[in-house]
């Protein structure tokens, strides 16, 4: 009798990679259903949109999934030159649809389909297949797709609001609203326009496709942790860090417990923490590494939200921390055998956190004392060139990031505004659609009557502020 010779152990756990990935997909099903409910069913019944246009979110998901599937199939066919049958086997084993699905879920609702396809293609080919396929990528493929989209076609992404929300809301997501308020305001101004925090929890606020329903994300998280599918340490430390830091900030500004809750419940924080940051391939292996990973993610997210013009920092934080995964694992391994040294990272993180909080608070306080409506603080005149009776003002204005513009003035009247440097292309597209600059110039005498363009409040305000400042300078 011949027996199979093999090294032990000879019994294996019944859990397999495919089962893990299947559970991961199962946990996403309710979220996809909610996407369809919120953006298709609701919109169809409450607005006059056509059926095709309300089906757009579903198409986005389908396009994302199909593109990543097909591009992986093509890779196996053309590059690895495997035959169709083995290609399909490989595809089954490499879970090709996940990057496309996750990518579609982190994009705004009105993203053109070809951009979704572009992102899914880049994410799959560059983020995953070039690195050797499933299990070997160092960056989360879905986020690579997102990164490529946001670098390449940020201007074309479209508004994150669905048609129903466009009708009812002011035209910004909660976090962009917060940024425009310089991170400070009352409950009414920050949360109020979207309902209550319960709306944030249930998901009836604007945001990208998958991120809005925190309730379903929480359920998915519990399911995934109970079935031991994801690393629970990362999302918990991530969210806790954000909560603690924003709580301290809110507290010292005299804001209640709703402020940190707002930060946790708005934007893609929970979605990213549960589905992206825990991607097993691109997160640390050691428990200590995972904790460090979570804390760093939280701190970086706070940095991006408060100190840069980007209102949302989750995706960038996760990508950035993907780079540091080997470092965290290295530290994790060292500390695993020498636990006494743990005070070193604790100390470092403590110092960084304190510095960060001090910096943010002083920033907000500066803005507060200078007043939010103070035009003079937001617009700065860098230089004035005189050319006969023509004057050219070189100004910067704080809108979404800093806008630089040249304003030409003849006889105390603004003749033209040329924006030389702008930060946010999405908003500019909206402005250009309605020829806003022309409107501003023609209405310069009573500028306050001019409404802001929905979807690009800050940029409209920034332009209006420039006019106010230059005219007041002229009248002196």
């Amino acid at each position: 009798m011949k027996f199979i010779k093999e090294n032990g152990p000879h019994i294996k756990n019944s859990d397999t990679t495919s089962k893990i990935m299947t559970r991961f997909l199962i946990s996403l099903i309710p979220i996809v259903c909610f996407v369809i409910f919120k953006n298709t069913v609701l919109v169809y019944f409450f607005t006059s949109e056509t059926l095709i246009s309300v089906l757009h979110p579903i198409f986005m998901i389908i396009v994302g999934v199909l593109t990543s599937f097909i591009s992986e199939l093509l890779w196996f066919k053309l590059v690895n030159k495997t035959n169709i049958k083995t290609s399909f086997l490989e595809l089954y084993r490499s879970f090709s649809i996940i990057p496309g699905l996750l990518l579609a879920l982190v994009l705004p609702i009105n993203t053109p389909l070809w951009i979704v396809a572009f992102g899914a293609f880049c994410g799959t080919i560059i983020g995953k297949m070039l690195y050797g396929g499933f299990g070997q990528n160092i960056f989360n493929p879905a986020l690579i797709g997102y990164l490529f989209i946001s670098v390449s076609y940020n201007a074309l992404l479209g508004s994150p609001l669905n048609a129903y929300e466009l009708d009812t809301l002011a035209g910004a997501t909660p976090l962009t609203n917060l940024t425009s308020l310089n991170y400070f305001g009352t409950y009414d101004s920050i949360v109020g326009s979207y309902g209550t925090l319960l709306n944030f929890f249930s998901g009836t606020i604007p945001g990208t496709l998958g991120e809005v329903s925190k309730l379903l994300i929480l359920i998915a998280f519990i399911y995934l942790v109970i079935t031991k599918t994801i690393k629970w340490r990362i999302p918990t430390t991530y969210v806790t860090t954000v909560f603690v830091v924003t709580w301290i900030i809110g507290n010292s500004l005299g804001l209640g417990i709703w402020y940190p809750l707002f930060h946790i419940l708005s934007g893609g924080l929970l979605f990213g923490a549960v589905f992206m940051a825990t991607d097993p391939v691109t997160s640390p292996l050691t428990p200590i590494g995972q904790v460090l990973h979570g804390i760093s993610l939280g701190l970086l997210t706070v940095v991006i939200r408060f100190l840069t013009p980007y209102p949302e920092g989750v995706m960038t934080s996760i990508l950035f921390m993907n780079m540091l995964v080997p470092l965290f694992d290295k530290i994790g391994v060292r500390l695993r055998y020498n636990i006494k040294r743990i005070y070193i990272p604790i100390l470092i993180y403590l110092v960084i956190t304190i510095l960060l909080i001090i910096n943010i608070i002083s920033n907000i306080n500066n803005n507060k004392t200078n007043g939010i409506d103070d035009v003079g603080n937001k617009v700065k005149i860098i230089e004035i060139k005189k050319d006969g009776n023509k004057k050219i003002y070189n100004v910067t204005s704080k809108g979404w990031g800093t806008i630089k513009a040249e304003v030409e003035v003849v006889d105390k009247e603004i003749k033209s505004i040329i924006v030389t440097d702008k930060k946010d292309e999405t908003q500019w597209n909206e402005l250009e659609k309605v020829d806003y600059i022309y409107k501003v110039i023609t209405n310069q005498k009573d500028i306050n009557k001019l409404d802001a363009v929905s979807g690009s409040t800050f940029s409209s305000e920034a332009i209006k502020n420039i006019i106010k400042k230059v005219l007041s300078e002229e009248l002196k």
Partner: protein
């Protein structure tokens, strides 16, 4: 013809030896700047090889590197002065990457490994060959970056002050939306990586 082609891709200083990547990545936002940088490097390479080869018997082993660096930096300084005088836009566009030719590994590398050991004519030939390889590589990268990132090909714009000829081709004419990714630094890295990868693949196939 085949020989030249195979040389350009089999022993290309950029694609194969991976030297002098600074400028290949930095100044290639338009086609014109790319090939102009290529031409400048080509000229400096030929001249430095010529001079190094001429003085190869006088210079002793120990002080070789400093002497060569002085020679190359003199040549670069002259180029800087010329460009500054005749084509200010190009000079500004190149910025610090023009003086950085001094530490471009292609130039110093050829001087050390070839020109210091060979006859004048051979050295010039070698310099020309390497320089041409560099020129082709940087032009390809520049062409791709501008075409994909901006949808245009700048045949001549910055130096039209000298030539009086100005031409920017608009290729896609808004049919295809250009991808700004390729104009960013990250895009440059990725593009170069992919191009080198594809050339590697071709090479191993032939």
């Amino acid at each position: 013809m085949k020989k030249i082609f195979s040389y350009l891709f089999k022993e290309n200083p950029v694609f194969v030896l991976v030297l002098g990547l600074c400028s290949v990545l930095a100044v290639t936002t338009t086609f014109e700047r790319s090939y102009m940088m290529g031409v400048v490097v080509l000229v400096i390479l030929v001249l430095s090889n010529l001079i190094v080869s001429l003085i190869r018997k006088i210079v002793s082993e120990e002080i070789r590197i400093p002497v060569y660096i002085i020679i190359i930096s003199t040549l670069v300084t002259i180029t800087e002065l010329i460009l500054n005088k005749y084509s200010k836009p190009l000079y500004d566009a190149f910025g610090i990457y023009l003086p950085l030719i001094v530490v471009n590994c292609v130039v110093l590398g050829r001087a050390l490994s070839y020109a210091s050991k060979n006859k004048v004519l051979d050295s010039i030939k070698d310099g020309f060959k390497s320089g041409l390889g560099y020129l082709v590589a940087i032009s390809i990268i520049g062409l791709l970056r501008e075409l994909l990132g901006n949808g245009t090909i700048t045949i001549m714009n910055d130096i039209s002050g000298i030539t009086g000829y100005k031409e920017i081709l608009h290729i896609f004419n808004n049919v295809v939306i250009p991808n700004k990714l390729f104009l960013t630094s990250g895009g440059a890295f990725i593009l170069l990586g992919i191009v080198i990868g594809i050339i590697n693949g071709r090479r191993s196939e032939v």
